[in-house]
């Protein structure tokens, strides 16, 4: 399988199929990132689409100074920021949409009881709501760390802030989440690792 860098080089040479391979490879993580930052399915889809359009148009300016994925993440986060600014001007505060039961049921293992399924959905919703309460910069740092597996340094580079700021945002964000989930009486934990890919969410 070709690396991102090889596909980028080919795309810059005008090979559209190579760029579409990059789209196929990255559309799920980018959608997951946009969805978790803004919490709306349709808008996350639009942000994902716009990310790849912008990346395609700006490909000639991408000199490989960062990883292709980091470059995509940066475009996505900028678009999400624009979306959040626009939403703040509207009087209605959107609440995050939960994961659909049918989708959860599709991921369920045969050993998972219906009670486990309901419990998982409730915990998922509680987490989504608690995340929505965090300031944007704390939420973004936690999303990049928890669901995309970036290092502190990668997050600092992406968000253009010092390493210590990233750690502070993570610490403060996690502490607030812990308190909110505890207040809601959430003592449940997620299914054991392996059933879900924490890096790419429902990518697999």
């Amino acid at each position: 399988m070709m690396s991102d860098e090889e596909l980028v080089a080919r795309s810059r040479g005008g090979d559209l199929d190579s760029f579409n391979q990059l789209v196929l490879r990255w559309e799920r993580p980018i959608y997951a990132l946009a969805y978790r930052v803004i919490g709306r399915e349709e808008d996350a889809r639009d942000v994902t689409q716009e990310t790849f359009l912008r990346a395609f148009r700006a490909l000639s300016g991408f000199k490989g100074q960062a990883k292709f994925s980091s470059w995509l993440y940066r475009i996505t986060l900028n678009l999400c920021r624009d979306w959040i600014r626009k939403e703040r001007r509207t009087p209605v505060t959107p609440t995050p949409e939960g994961v659909d039961l049918v989708e959860l049921a599709g991921e369920a293992t045969p050993s998972e009881s219906i009670e486990d399924l309901v419990s998982r959905k409730q915990l998922s919703e509680a987490v989504a709501k608690a995340m929505a309460l965090l300031p944007e910069e704390q939420r973004t740092a936690i999303i990049l760390k928890e669901y995309h597996g970036l290092t502190f340094q990668e997050i600092a580079d992406l968000l253009d802030c010092p390493l210590s700021t990233v750690k502070t945002r993570l610490y403060q964000g996690l502490t607030v989440l812990r308190r909110h989930l505890h207040e809601r009486g959430e003592t449940r934990v997620a299914r054991p690792a392996g059933s879900l890919d924490p890096i790419h969410g429902s990518m697999n």
Binding site: Y31, V99, V118
Partner: protein
Amino acid sequence: MCDKELLIGYLYGELRLSDRDAFERHLGACAECRSEVEGLSGTRAQLQSWTPPSPELGFEIVRGPQRPPAAAKRWGLSPAWGLAAAAMLVGAVSAAIANVEVTVGSSGVKLRTGWNRVSDARPASTDAAAASAELQRVSARMRDLENRLASIASTTIAAPATAAPPGRMSDAELIRAMRTMIDQSEERQQGVLARQILRVNQDMETARRTDFDRLRQGIQQVQGTAFEVYQRQKAFEEHVVRVGMQR
């Protein structure tokens, strides 16, 4: 005051070996940090339950002929459309989710449908089969959920309700939660369906306008050419008449 940067580095396994050893020694002596590491680890585990939806995306950059700027965004990157659109177009079941990719090519507007990423134009029947298969999969999931719910409900009726163990839901609570979730799921599917239909309609309208503009330009070209031919013929006839009169 303990060093929270070290704590967070430890929590995510990003400390140098020497720092990690030192922090572990600190943990042995500091109950507050121990409790915090334990609590935040639990929170991290809870965060993993939050999964995003997994819609069919199937974005694809397509290179088409020159198009009006307003239509370029929508047409340049065709998302794989979701629920029911293919079902509408190919006559499959109305609640199905399908991709509808609209591409403007040299041969006109192409509509491609189906659940999965479409690399080439495929016959509609293949896509309808894929849509139908996916619909069956979703229906089977829903049936399974309903059956499991019904089985719990019947057990509850047959056996007297017993108090749920601490931390567990009672059967009545479980049934209520499931019913709410199923209702939410249906409502969501309907919303998705409505949005997909709206998008398909908008795209069809854009395609119609693009084709109309192209057609009008073509007609104008033909008219222009015909007028030029007419002018030339007329000039030639006048020339012939003039030459005839001179003779």
